[in-house]
């Protein structure tokens, strides 16, 4: 197994830091990092439960981010096994990436002790300092456990709709958060409408967005309206982390079961799945 990647400018390192920050907000203390031939994935370690979430942030090597990317997986002769799975504490990465950095190198490195897991060696440099080296402990995941990190299957009868800009939704969700709402119902119609409903101690607020586009190719639901109820504290960090993005978010709703938020741009792809809340 072999992995190293280099980012050589402030913009790339800043983007990378934002995605690490998003990973720490969306998940719990630990995250899974899947290193593959075409890029890096930061993924949830959790399973999808009632009100819980699963996410994957993919950073492609072909984007503007990586200046160098060298990789060889667990078994590079078999494509399905040409991967590296590891788990790490996200905060270790967050602490290392503080400041205005202009250079970042990540390298999977063996430790002197033969029975210990390798580490990720991180070299960073800011404009006015020399290179600083950090070592982040990680745990290599054996291939027999890889399936537990797989994306949950979505099932059929999806209603697919492109959401308003992340900034608009972030403002609405911030309003619900300020009023201590706990559960928000997302309703999407086949006619391009999105309605958010929140009930709080002080009253009820519904917000309706019109003239949105449905993804007809992905929609296989026969309903006029699809509905799912999500915990605000689970879905808010998604928009808090990505409200600066210009790319549109697509929402797939499987009524009363789950919602999938996905976003795609040159430098990242995001998938975020949240389970329905049963009250």
């Amino acid at each position: 197994m072999r992995f190293s990647a280099v980012l050589c400018d402030e913009t790339s390192v800043e983007s990378f830091s934002k995605f690490i920050g998003a990973t720490s907000k969306l998940g719990r203390k630990r995250c899974c990092i899947r290193i593959q031939n075409d890029g890096l994935c930061f993924m949830s370690c959790e399973k999808l439960q009632d009100g819980g979430c699963w996410f994957c942030i993919f950073l492609p090597r072909t984007g503007q981010m990586f200046r160098q990317y060298d990789f060889s997986g667990f078994n590079d002769r078999v494509e399905e096994q040409n991967l590296i799975y590891l788990e790490a504490n996200v905060d270790n990465f967050v602490k290392v990436l503080k400041g205005n950095l202009c250079y970042l190198k990540l390298k999977l490195t063996r430790t002197p002790a033969p029975d210990q897991d390798p580490i990720i060696r991180i070299e960073v440099r800011s404009v006015d300092s020399d290179i600083i080296r950090h070592e982040v402990p990680i745990k290599i995941i054996m291939s027999r456990h890889w399936s537990q990190y797989e994306k949950p299957s979505l099932g059929r009868r999806k209603m697919s709709i492109y959401l308003p800009p992340p900034k608009s939704l972030y403002k609405v969700l911030q309003t619900y958060k300020n009023l201590n709402a706990t559960v928000i119902a997302f309703n999407a119609s086949s006619g391009g409408d999105l309605r958010l409903e929140g009930t709080m101690d002080q009253g009820e607020i519904d917000v309706l967005f019109n003239d949105l586009s449905n993804d007809a190719a992905e929609t296989d639901s026969q309903e006029d309206w699809a509905r799912v109820k999500l915990m605000l504290k689970t879905v808010f960090p998604l928009f808090q982390s990505f409200f600066f993005c210009n790319s549109r978010v697509k929402l797939n709703i499987i009524s009363n079961q789950m919602a999938e938020f996905s976003m795609r741009s040159d430098d990242h792809q995001l998938c975020f799945i949240v389970g329905n809340v049963t009250e």
Binding site: P164, V172, N178, L179, I205
Partner: protein, 271 residues
């Protein structure tokens, strides 16, 4: 099926104008909406029977000579007086969702035990909200008698806002001194004593009318609540009566001769 007419209904274009005023008052949980056919007031009280009470009102009267430039595009109040308490933050947050200049609001209230019903249209989205109400209670109206005014200053608010924003927060009180030549604000905190004086000849000051020099102290925490409202306003009228009650009336000029007012009453702490 006949629809029951609402007790109070009004519409407003450019929701941001109302949103910023409500936001400036959201330092207490509950406000009182008080409507008559002549207009709307929102009163925020700070408890009762204590000397550091604050009372804030927005007055906006659509029944004046400038009907086409009213604060509200339509206003109907079907009772002599309507009073209802409501959660300020809920209204403030709802109004905040209408931030485009082309946004419009309609608000209605059907009567006792009914909620405030809001509809906001804002370009690409619309908001429907139901805000629970509570029964109204008595608030201290301070009996601020015009004939008993001992000091009256009319001034612009540019400098006043800068000063209030930078008040020494380690000082527990603000002392206001008015004489026929100047208006002074004094704080005494960890950095020492700070005196800020606006003389009559200053371009900020329009009028000082003072029958005798007065000095009264007010709780700084009460005074600080006025700062956001001062920031919205263009002119202020600062009056003190012979009991030491401070009345600060702030005028917000929305353009096109359209004005609204926020008024504060503060009981003095010491003199």
């Amino acid at each position: 099926m006949t629809t029951v007419a609402k007790l109070l209904e009004f519409k407003k274009e450019n929701v941001k104008e109302l949103a910023s005023i409500i936001k400036a008052l959201t330092f207490r949980e509950i406000g009182k909406l008080s409507a008559t056919p002549g207009g709307l007031r929102i009163v925020v009280g700070d408890g009762a029977l204590q000397q550091n009470i604050i009372k804030i009102m927005i007055n906006s009267f659509p029944g004046n000579a400038y009907m086409e430039t009213c604060f509200f595009s339509s206003f109907v109040c079907r009772d002599e007086t309507i009073e209802v308490n409501f959660p300020l933050k809920a209204l403030s947050e709802c109004l905040n969702l209408g931030d485009a200049s082309s946004s419009s609001l309609s608000l209605s209230y059907a009567g006792f035990c009914e909620p405030l019903m809001l509809k906001i249209h804002d370009g690409n989205h619309s908001v429907k909200a139901k805000i629970h109400t509570l029964s109204s209670n008595e608030t201290n109206d301070f009996n601020f008698e015009v004939s008993e005014i001992v000091a009256n200053c009319i001034l612009k608010t540019t400098f006043l806002h800068d000063f209030f924003r930078d008040l020494d927060t380690t000082s527990p009180n603000l002392v206001i001194e008015v004489s026929e030549r100047e208006l002074s604000f004094v704080t005494q905190g960890e950095i020492g004593m700070t005196t800020c004086t606006i003389p009559l000849k200053s371009l900020q000051m329009d009028v000082i009318a003072c029958s005798r020099p007065v000095t009264y102290g007010y709780r700084l925490s009460a005074i600080q609540r006025m700062t956001p409202a001062i920031g919205l306003s263009n002119r202020a009228s600062l009056r003190i009566d012979n009991r030491g009650v401070l009345n600060l009336q702030l005028m917000i000029d929305h353009g096109d001769s359209l004005k609204s007012y926020i008024e504060f009453f503060v009981g003095f702490f010491f003199n």
